[in-house]
């Protein structure tokens, strides 16, 4: 059935949105609730490009309502631009002390064909703070525009920049370590 295909295709992104706001089990619950309420509309939307954004907005609104009801807030650290592990690789004058040694010369596709790296990426993605992971997922993997991500996650443009950069640095450090050691 059409909706089963849609559920499998769109749930990962919806969960990424929900996890920004809520813990794991509440997030799954919200996404389930969402599917139940939108299922009639899904047929009308089928094949249209706006479906993903529409679903993500619905999930975000439900999460925000839920947060408001419980009077909790999303706790996020927007303070610093550099990951500590990267920051300590510069000397006092601001030059590289420990520069990146290797080039990630392979294209992304070749790197991802390496199943071990892909698994490692999964592992590190799930270890990221929820807020950074959600921002990365929506911006990179789901290719939302910045304004859409800000809208869905309810963050300012400058805060989104921090989330993206912090998340990318962690993944960068992970790929670097993986290329050097071959281990995750």
């Amino acid at each position: 059935m059409a909706y089963q295909k849609a559920v499998r295709e769109y749930s990962p992104g919806m969960l990424a949105v929900a996890r920004f706001y809520l813990d794991h089990s509440s997030a799954e619950e919200v996404v389930q609730d969402c599917w139940v309420t939108v299922i009639d509309a899904i047929h009308k939307f089928e094949g249209r490009s706006g479906l993903k954004t529409w679903l993500h907005r619905i999930v975000a609104n439900r999460c925000k309502n839920k947060l408001r009801a419980s009077k909790r807030e999303v706790a996020t650290d927007f303070s610093e631009g550099l990951e500590p592990d990267l920051a300590e690789r510069f000397n006092a004058t601001g030059r590289w002390d420990l520069p990146p040694k290797l080039q990630f010369h392979d294209s992304a596709d070749t790197l991802l064909e390496n199943g071990a790296l892909s698994d490692c990426l999964d592992k590190h993605l799930s270890a990221l703070p929820e807020t950074q992971r959600s921002a990365l997922m929506l911006y990179e993997a789901h290719q939302h525009k910045s304004e859409e991500v800000c809208n869905i996650l309810d963050v300012s443009a400058s805060n989104l920049r921090v989330l993206l950069h912090r998340g990318r640095q962690k993944i960068f450090l992970m790929v670097e370590a993986f290329q050097e050691t071959g281990e995750c």
């Binding site: 389930q32 520069p99 990426l121 950069h165």
Partner: protein, 85 residues
């Protein structure tokens, strides 16, 4: 004068084209002179490409099953107006 550390702070903004013309120019000038930062920017860009190509989110089966059940249930009772909790 932009130092390597400063460049690392704004590296994502540079990659995403979010810097002002002047900032972007000073990054380009630095990159011309600094091989380490060229490697860094190249690798950070490769990292974002990696994320773009990565279809994360293996959905857990229990979750999918639960959605299917609840949707099927909702479709069965569709004629009666949905109660909101």
């Amino acid at each position: 004068m932009l130092m390597c550390r400063d460049l690392a702070v704004i590296a994502s903004d540079y990659i995403d084209g979010e810097l002002s013309g002047r900032q972007s120019l000073s990054v380009k000038m630095h990159l011309m002179m600094c091989r380490d930062c060229r490697t860094f920017i190249g690798n950070l860009r490769a990292t974002t490409d990696l994320m773009k190509g990565h279809s994360s989110g293996k959905l857990n089966e229990a979750f999918l099953q639960r959605v299917d059940e609840r949707v099927a249930e909702a479709l069965r009772t569709k004629t009666s107006p949905n109660k909101d909790k």
